[in-house]
């Protein structure tokens, strides 16, 4: 995608223009989206996206520009424009005069797919989505089934003035079912959407009919659910996507994007007990085939497994290059961005609570007289600085006398992430993770959230209005 001479001349020109650091990010995507409603194609689109982003540091001031044109002339012009706009009169740096010693590294294929997109025709994909549709037809009240298949291939090159040259390749597939059920009176939805850093072998791990059926079962549960009660009560959060609360209301608070601006309540808390001792919280960019995994981050650093909270003690932030400059913490391979139109910031990859010491999830319900089992969570809102959150419960049940009882709908969990994490008093062993799209300053990126079943001694539950 990128010629060595072009990269060298761009980086050298940036340094001559007074930049302390220059980074060129070049990528090329192939994306396909196939969407069916009731088994017929509603949308089928394909796209090649290609572009370059140039980021220059002048101290901790950052300027950024991007273009689709990867030609030598266009990239050099972009560099000149940025340097001129900055109005830099800075000293000419020696690094700009001589050649750069670029050290090349390439992805080893840890997350490489086994069934390539090109190996199967589009009609085969449509057949899979029709299986998903058929799998969802488990009851006469199922009214509409939407199937979605996303295929992403991304080739990335990151080159910088410190001599880094990294080539990474990321392939991701996600299949989702959205099912609408209605009994004439109520209309409810169910959702399930597994995704991994794999090719079309996703369907070997998740049978299409099973994806449809799981979404349909959730819609049916909601159809027979009663309005949730309101009040403060013990809550058991389901494994997998139940972890989205801690992603939103805790994870975002330990990114240097907010910590370096002192905009997070968890600023300057390293080494302090900020969570229950039951909680060890990890952000891992290396999980094989994880939805949020990659071999390198978008700043060209090898990803790593970062323990954020160890038995309740805050042990690390998620640190990108700018955050490292501002705070002095070492980078953690957490610089990520949606695409070339965004400069990278510190972001989560695959973030989860490690298994605890409760053998069976059923034990978590024991002793709860009245509580809520939030088996699956839906959308929510969070204030980034304080971690105040509210999340809708997508699939919920009451807990009565230590047992999971009838389903309830419309429950809303309300609290503050840094407080809720202190109230976790038991963690099971059944860790699972699920894919999501995480939105922040550097765009929308794939990230996994996860946890085992977790019990929180109390959360405010808002009932149906």
């Amino acid at each position: 995608m990128l010629h060595t001479a072009t990269a060298e001349s761009v980086l050298a020109a940036a340094r001559r223009g007074g930049a302390d650091f220059a980074e060129l990010y070049v990528e090329r995507w192939r994306r396909r989206t196939l969407r069916t409603i009731d088994g017929e194609v509603e949308e089928a689109v394909s796209a090649i996206e290609q572009g370059a982003g140039l980021r220059l540091f002048f101290g901790t001031d950052v300027v950024y520009a991007y273009t689709n044109d990867l030609g030598d002339e266009a990239l050099n012009e972009l560099t000149q424009t940025l340097v001129r706009l900055r109005g830099a009169r800075g000293a000419v740096d020696a690094g700009g005069a001589g050649g750069l010693d670029l050290r090349r590294r390439a992805a080893a294929g840890v997350h490489a797919p086994s069934v390539a997109f090109e190996s199967l025709p589009k009609a085969w994909r449509l057949d899979r989505l029709r299986e998903l549709d058929a799998g969802a037809r488990v009851d006469a009240s199922i009214r509409q089934v939407e199937g979605r298949l996303l295929e992403w291939e991304q080739d990335v090159t990151v080159v910088n003035s410190e001599g880094t040259w990294v080539d990474d390749r990321r392939v991701r597939t996600r299949c989702a079912a959205v099912v609408i059920a209605s009994d004439g009176d109520q209309t409810q939805t169910g959702h399930f959407g597994p995704g991994l850093s794999v090719g079309l072998e996703l369907f070997e791990r998740f049978a299409p009919a099973a994806i449809g059926e799981r979404a349909a079962r959730q819609a049916l549960v909601n159809l027979r659910a009663r309005p949730a009660p309101a009040g403060t009560m013990p809550v058991v959060l389901g494994n997998g996507f139940g972890g989205v609360i801690f992603h939103e209301a805790l994870g975002h608070l330990v990114e240097t994007t907010s910590v370096a601006r002192r905009a997070s309540v968890l600023t300057d808390k390293l080494g302090e007990q900020i969570a229950s001792p039951q909680v060890t919280y990890v952000d891992d960019g290396t999980t094989p085939h994880g939805w949020g995994s990659s071999e390198f981050d978008d700043e060209g650093m090898a990803t790593e497994r970062t323990v954020l909270i160890d038995r309740g003690v805050l042990t690390s932030y998620m640190v990108d290059r700018w955050g490292s400059l501002k705070t002095g913490y070492a980078r953690t391979g957490s610089g990520r961005r949606e695409n070339y139109t965004f400069a990278p910031t510190s972001r989560m990859r695959n973030t989860f609570i490690l298994p605890g010491d409760v053998e069976e999830p059923a034990e978590l319900f024991a002793g709860i007289e009245l509580g809520l089992y939030a088996k699956a969570l839906g959308g929510g809102q969070v204030r980034p600085g304080s971690g105040e959150y509210n999340f809708a419960v997508q699939e919920g049940y009451l807990i009565r006398d230590g047992e999971v009882a009838e389903p309830v709908r419309g429950a809303m969990l309300v609290g503050k992430g840094p407080e809720t994490i202190k109230l976790v008093d038991a963690v099971a062993r059944d860790l699972t993770t699920e894919p999501g799209m995480c939105g922040s300053m550097s765009g929308s990126i794939p990230a996994e959230v996860g946890q085992p079943h977790v019990r929180v001694t109390q959360i405010v539950v808002g009932g149906e209005a």
Binding site: A44, S46, A65, A74, L85, R86, G87
Partner: protein, 437 residues
């Protein structure tokens, strides 16, 4: 960019493969400069463009796009679009035929000023705003310019291209007087950089935000009401949903069966005019190559037309008005260009409320039913004197309100809206119900 070459390559190959294809290529250059503390502290510069193809084969439509212009990428794009079309059920779609549309340049050298001059303009705006003692903080002061180039061609004869753009200055101050704190924003848009005036923009912003300082709650009741042009534009954005041929084709427009009927006060004339000389959203043709022409939508309160592209026109059996909209990466839609609610003979108010701002349109307004319940800011006028009021909500039905307009202001203000630009006057409506203190 090599758009012409890319377009020719894709169309030649489509003809060889025996499919109808339309190629749309657009490129956008954006420059944003933000000022703080008397200097330009944030800069972003972007060039983004690509090619999109719409294929129609056997009444089936398929789309694909590419930001890479090499032959291999373009061939992949066309093959994917054809394969995507073949997956669809047949829906009777067809590609419109057309002709040579020429190449137009609608901005010339309008944005060619040196970047240093643009930086100086935004610094001047920032300095002028923060000089006002009532300004407590400045959320942003920004200069932004956008230049776009479009090339369109099809196997059915369409061939054309144009270049256009605009520049704007905007700022959002937080102003304070005693315990009263108000945040607001405003912008000035022009086709040429030299038409922007930081002094004029700063004065307008300070006046528009500052006049709300010291606002007191409005008492619940019915008031004769004037909507400032900014608020009228908000109402028009909401009305656009019902005027879109897409909403009509999908059975979502409340006006669908009302062509030829009186749907608004006879004082109202609404027109969309992409041919307006120096119009900020003017264009020689739409995204399907239909030549631009002025389209009266409402004349003397009578509904005359919806906004259509070839597809919504075919599905509703109405005339195509040339309002196709799409980017290279998106599918076909409908959008206005310069939407103008014509000026009237003037509107004034001796006793009532001037509504200056409506908030929360996304959540508090239902475009299908026209039911609106929104929080507002305004000025209470009594005995010819005005004072700021706040903490009130207005509830009305948009369609009902349009029928009740009894005066239209004599000047227009331009505001951005719905992929195009909206020109709006002041509107007066009597006895509107307000919920306040």
């Amino acid at each position: 960019m090599n758009f012409e070459r890319a377009k020719d390559h894709v169309l030649r190959r489509a003809r060889a493969l025996g499919v109808d294809a339309e190629v749309l290529a657009t490129a956008k250059r954006e420059l944003t400069l933000a000022a703080s503390g008397g200097r330009v502290d944030e800069i972003s510069h972007a060039n983004q463009g690509g090619v999109g193809v719409r294929v129609v084969a056997d009444g089936r439509v398929g789309y694909a796009s590419s930001e890479a212009l090499d032959d291999a990428s373009l061939d992949w794009m066309l093959d994917e679009a054809i394969a995507n079309a073949r997956l669809q059920p047949a829906r009777g779609a067809a590609l419109p035929s057309g002709g040579a549309l020429g190449r137009s340049d609608l901005i010339g050298e309008g944005l060619s000023a040196a970047v240093e001059a643009k930086g100086a303009a935004v610094v001047e705006l920032e300095s002028a705003v923060v000089t006002d003692a009532r300004v407590d903080a400045l959320f942003m002061a920004r200069y932004a310019e956008t230049e776009t180039e479009a090339v369109l061609g099809s196997t059915r004869g369409v061939d054309g291209g144009y270049r256009t753009g605009y520049a704007m200055l905007m700022a959002s101050p937080v102003m304070k007087q005693g315990d009263s704190v108000k945040q607001g924003w405003d912008l000035d848009v022009a086709k040429e950089f030299h038409l922007l005036d930081p002094t004029r923009t700063s004065q307008r912003i300070l006046e528009r935000v500052g006049r709300h300082l010291g606002a007191t709650p409005l008492r619940t009741g019915r008031y004769d009401t004037m909507f400032e042009p900014d608020v009228t534009a908000t109402l028009l954005r909401l009305l656009l949903f019902s005027l879109s041929g897409k909403s009509v084709a999908e059975g979502k427009s409340r006006l669908a069966t009302r062509l030829g009927d009186r749907v608004a006060s006879d004082l109202l004339d609404l027109v969309d005019d992409p041919t307006l000389p120096d119009g900020l959203a003017s264009r020689p043709f739409d995204a399907e190559g239909t030549p631009a022409r002025r389209t009266p939508l409402i004349e003397g309160g009578v509904l005359r037309s919806f906004l259509h592209n070839s597809d919504t026109a075919r599905r509703t059996g109405q005339a195509n008005t040339g309002h196709a909209q799409r980017s290279y990466a998106s599918t076909l839609g409908v959008a206005p260009s310069n939407l103008i609610l014509e000026a009237g003979s003037g509107a004034s108010l001796d006793d009532g409320v001037i509504v200056t701002d409506l908030m929360g349109v996304h959540a508090g307004a239902n475009p299908i039913t026209g039911d609106v319940s929104l929080q507002g800011l305004g000025l209470r006028v009594e005995d010819g004197e005005s004072r700021p009021v706040e903490n009130f909500a207005l509830s009305f039905n948009l369609f009902d309100l349009l029928e009740r307009v009894n005066a239209v202001g004599e000047s227009l203000e331009w505001r951005p809206g719905g992929e195009g630009m909206i020109a709006a006057p002041t509107l007066r409506v009597d006895a509107l119900s307000f919920a306040g203190a």
